[in-house]
Symmetry: C2
């Protein structure tokens, strides 16, 4: 898919607790707030929250495989973790292309993750990607 | 570990291709530049590169489990992917505390990943974390 200024792309996703456990194993990020129900119950979140980086990794998935897809090189990503993310909740990545540099094949993209049930933004941020064939 | 202005914390790490495959499975980020040797050989990288988000996830691991560790809540992270990262190479997270707000229990931390063999920064960025007991 080609990327043009003003284009908005959305992609729905959800993670399971099993996937959170696998993410913790691969990355080594075994913060108990993600893994231990009893521990999480005593925090302000009341139940385990997802790793922010697991949520944010969906930006990378979208850029690398969907929008613009094959050939994408990731240059920058910022993320503000606005609200906790929970397993089995349905989220949507919402990306809006802010600026395109066709000569350098680069685009700046606003990247948000929205809780489908509440409409709340849970991660907000911005990315810069390069794709020689699609930007 | 408590966090004070000016403190530097380092943590060495390395990933295997097996871990890259697992990360691709969990996150859904199956960009072939990370997974397909023949595909990667035809790119400017010549061989598969790691997901930037897998490299960056080590920031989350360090904050959540080591520095400052237990109880850390991630508020912000920016990342510039300066150079490709490769499996089996040895990298080091280098974090320097830039600003501490004891009242809000928050710290701004410069977060870099350095290739141990070359000294090159491969990911540069900045984070904001909160920890009620350790900041």
């Amino acid at each position: 898919m080609s990327i043009e200024q003003g284009t908005t792309y959305t992609h729905e996703f959800s993670f399971t607790q099993d996937e959170v456990v696998k993410f913790a194993e691969v990355t080594g990020d075994k913060n108990p707030v993600h893994l231990d129900e009893a521990y999480a119950a005593a925090t302000m979140f009341k139940r385990p929250i997802m790793h922010g980086f697991l949520g944010g990794s969906v930006f990378s998935k979208v850029f690398g495989t969907l929008f613009p897809g094959e050939g994408t090189i990731y240059l920058k990503q910022s993320m503000s973790f606005m609200r906790p993310m929970y397993v089995n909740a349905v989220y949507e990545v919402r990306m809006t292309v802010k600026e395109v540099n066709k000569e350098k094949h680069r685009a700046n993209v606003e990247t948000n993750i929205v809780d489908k049930a509440t409409g709340d933004v849970v991660i907000s941020g911005e990315a810069t990607v390069m794709n020689v064939n699609r930007i």
